[in-house]
Structures are given as structure tokens and as C-alpha cells.
């Protein structure tokens, strides 16, 4: 009988990859069959752990180009220290929600931040005004559009409340920025919104004067001034 399958081949088989040489051995060897079954079982257990999806969501695509030079994601729920101007738009014709207008803010020391300096730490917070799902983008002076929240490709649920922390912290880097929040009562994909913002940036007098595109739910807009 040929030698037992190596761990690498067992991993390939468990991942569903073709491993032609292995088939003949596997068909006749109960020990390797059991090893493969054990690896598949372990994989199912690992896939069901909460961290499995969280770590997938934390992997970012296409950086650093898409992550602006003006705001750097640091980590989850760090202590914060900094302040931001807040303008909320409530465009007519959009999916009108109850309870006034939604908000998007950067927060430090439990207060909205209007002006910050490089190195300051801020967290992201929203008020959904009755909406249940949100997406937040940032636009910098160069017109770079960056999704700030959520990590995945779909609008994520938010808790009710006027100022709900999104558990994401940023370190402020030089350059002003605009935040655009989109609020709905169902989920929606993030990429069409990015593309609409990019068109909106192209049509704006200056990138920082970009308006939130309509058609993606209620919107909130705020601007952070970053001093040297």
C-alpha cells in the first residue's frame, strides 16, 4: 500500500480541491478516510465560530487606494480624543422615514467632533431616525471615496437611537473630509452607492462640496475640518 496521504493533501481534499493522485489511496485506506472526515468536521466547527465571519469582514479589498489619506482606520472601540461640523440633508422625494432626520457624526469624548487635528482619534456614530440599516462613506479633497462602515458589501443593521456608536475608530490624518450616511429600512449593496458618489463628486464644484446622491434612502452629511 502507498504511504498515507500528507496533511497538505488532506487539506486539499477537505477544501474540495482536486488531488488526482490521492483518490486511489483514499478509496482503500480507512485511516486516511477518517483523517479527512475529522478535518472536514473541524472545518465545519471553525466556520461556525463568530470570529470566522468577523475576520472575513475585516479583510479590506483594494487598499490602500480606496482608503483615503485623511482618515486611517485604527481599530475597534479605542478611547478617543478630538471634535466636527454637522450638516444634515433631508432630500425631498427620498424614502421618508419617521422621527426627523438621520445623522452621521464623528465622536470624541462622547461629543460630536467638528474640528480635529492629525493624530486625533474619533469614532463613528449615526442616528437612524427610524431607519434600521446604514452605510457611511467618506470623501476627501482629492475626491477619493472610501467606505467607512460597514466592512461588508451590504448595509448593516444599526441600533435605534439618536447617536449610536458603530464601533469603529479612526485616526485623523491631514485634510478635510465629508461624511455621507445612507439610511434605509432594508439592506442594500454598498457598491452602487460608491459609484453614484463618484459620479456626484465628478459633477461637484469641488470634491468636498459633493452632495449625497438620491435613490439610496435617507441621507445625512457632515464635514470634518482638520487643522494642521
Amino acid at each position: 500500500m502507498s504511504p498515507h496521504l500528507s496533511a497538505l493533501v488532506i487539506d486539499e481534499l477537505a477544501a474540495g480541491l482536486p488531488s488526482a493522485d490521492a483518490a486511489a489511496h483514499l478509496a482503500t485506506c480507512t485511516e486516511c478516510q477518517q483523517r479527512l472526515a475529522a478535518v472536514k468536521q473541524a472545518s465545519a466547527t471553525i466556520s461556525a465560530m463568530p470570529a470566522f465571519q468577523q475576520r472575513l469582514d475585516a479583510v479590506t479589498l483594494g487598499e490602500p487606494a480606496r482608503r483615503g489619506p485623511w482618515l486611517r482606520l485604527v481599530s475597534i472601540a479605542l478611547p478617543v480624543a478630538a471634535a466636527l461640523a454637522l450638516v444634515v440633508f433631508w432630500p425631498r422625494g427620498d424614502d421618508v422615514l419617521l422621527k426627523g432626520a438621520p445623522t452621521v457624526e464623528l465622536i470624541a469624548n462622547e461629543k460630536p467632533v467638528m474640528v480635529a487635528k492629525p493624530g486625533d482619534r474619533v469614532t463613528l456614530a449615526v442616528g437612524g431616525a427610524g431607519a434600521t440599516h446604514a452605510i457611511v462613506f467618506g470623501v476627501d479633497a482629492s475626491g477619493t471615496v472610501t467606505k467607512l462602515w460597514p466592512a461588508g458589501g451590504e448595509a448593516a443593521p444599526i441600533a435605534p437611537g439618536a447617536r449610536v456608536s458603530l464601533d469603529v475608530s479612526f485616526e485623523v490624518t491631514p485634510g478635510d473630509l465629508v461624511l455621507l450616511g445612507f439610511f434605509t429600512k432594508t439592506t442594500q449593496p454598498t457598491e452602487p452607492i460608491r459609484e453614484a458618489i463618484e459620479r456626484s463628486v465628478a459633477g461637484a464644484r469641488a470634491p468636498l462640496e459633493v452632495l449625497a446622491p438620491s435613490g439610496f434612502g435617507a441621507v445625512a452629511r457632515s464635514r470634518l475640518k482638520v487643522t494642521p
Partner: protein, 172 residues
């Protein structure tokens, strides 16, 4: 959606698929080396982040599992090296090891000895050969070494590990 041919990076859907297929085995291997769930998840995230940034190297690989073994080994050993700087010997944090048995203890002792006494290349070979249980030919594929080179390096490694008292039992 715009589709870019050629040098395009991963789409979210592609990354999802690769992650679901491969993350469990990356986690199992990293967990064995690092001993703690949280550290192993850090390694998983780092491996897949690397897959995104180095998508050309991953896609160019004839056998994707060898790329995953190479990067997982590299990242896990780097984490162990920086951990041993943060946590001097004798002060090793032991939480998260509750279900570990004799084998895990032996793995940790071996790794500790290798990190002190072997070169980084030798540490990689020893990990793949003795802890992951790969064949010598597979180690050569994973590390992109020739058969001749791996034969020589493994012979040197065995002698060195034996001198350190860190050659796994039952290995000949």
C-alpha cells in the same frame, strides 16, 4: 459594475469564496503554532489580507494550498517571534490553552527551542516538516526550493535540532 480584465484584484464574492474554502485550515494550522484562538484569528485575517494585496502571486500558484502553507507559516512564525519579545520566557500567557494536551505542550516547547537556535529558514522547514507533517518534497514545493537544496537543508536542520535537544520524538 465595471469589469477589468487581466490584473484585477479580488471581488468581494471571490474573496468570500476563497475564505470559506480555506480559512478553516489556515486557522487550524495557525492555532497549532500559536496556541490561542485570538492569535490564530489574527493570523487568518493577515493571511487573507495578504492574499488580497498579493493576488497575482496567489493566482499564479499552480497549487494554491502551497501558497497558503507558505504564508500561514511565515505569518505565524513572525507572530511567535514578536510574542517572544513581548513575553519573556517563563511569563508565557497560558489562557486559551485549556484543551491542550501533551502534543500541544511538546509543539510549544519545540517552537520555543527552534526560535532561539535555528535560522528563520530552518524554522520554516522544521515547522512544515515536523509540526505540519508535510513530506520533504512538499516542503520544497511550499518554500520554492529545489529537491537538492531541501535534502541538504533538512540534513543540516536535523543535526542542529538534535544538538538543541529539539528534534521531535520518533523522528529519524
Amino acid at each position: 459594475m465595471v469589469h477589468v480584465a487581466g490584473d484585477a484584484g479580488f471581488s468581494r464574492a471571490e474573496l468570500d469564496q476563497l475564505y470559506r474554502r480555506h480559512a478553516p485550515s489556515v486557522f487550524r494550522r495557525a492555532r497549532r503554532l500559536l496556541g490561542r484562538d485570538a492569535d490564530a484569528w489574527d493570523a487568518v485575517q493577515e493571511v487573507f489580507q495578504k492574499m488580497v494585496t498579493a493576488h497575482q502571486s496567489f493566482r499564479g500558484e499552480a497549487r494554491p494550498m502551497t501558497w497558503l502553507y507558505r504564508i500561514t507559516t511565515n505569518i505565524s512564525l513572525n507572530m511567535l517571534r514578536s510574542r517572544s519579545l513581548r513575553e519573556p520566557a517563563g511569563l508565557t500567557v497560558i489562557d486559551g490553552h485549556a484543551d491542550d494536551g501533551q502534543e500541544a505542550l511538546e509543539t510549544r516547547n519545540l517552537l520555543q527551542a527552534w526560535l532561539k537556535g535555528l535560522t528563520e529558514r530552518e524554522q520554516e522547514i522544521a515547522t512544515l516538516l515536523f509540526i505540519d507533517g508535510l513530506t520533504q518534497e512538499e516542503v520544497a514545493d511550499v518554500l520554492e526550493l529545489s529537491r537538492k537544496t531541501i535534502n541538504r537543508e533538512v540534513a543540516e536542520l536535523r543535526a542542529k535540532a538534535a544538538a538543541l535537544g529539539a528534534l521531535p520524538e520518533g523522528d529519524s
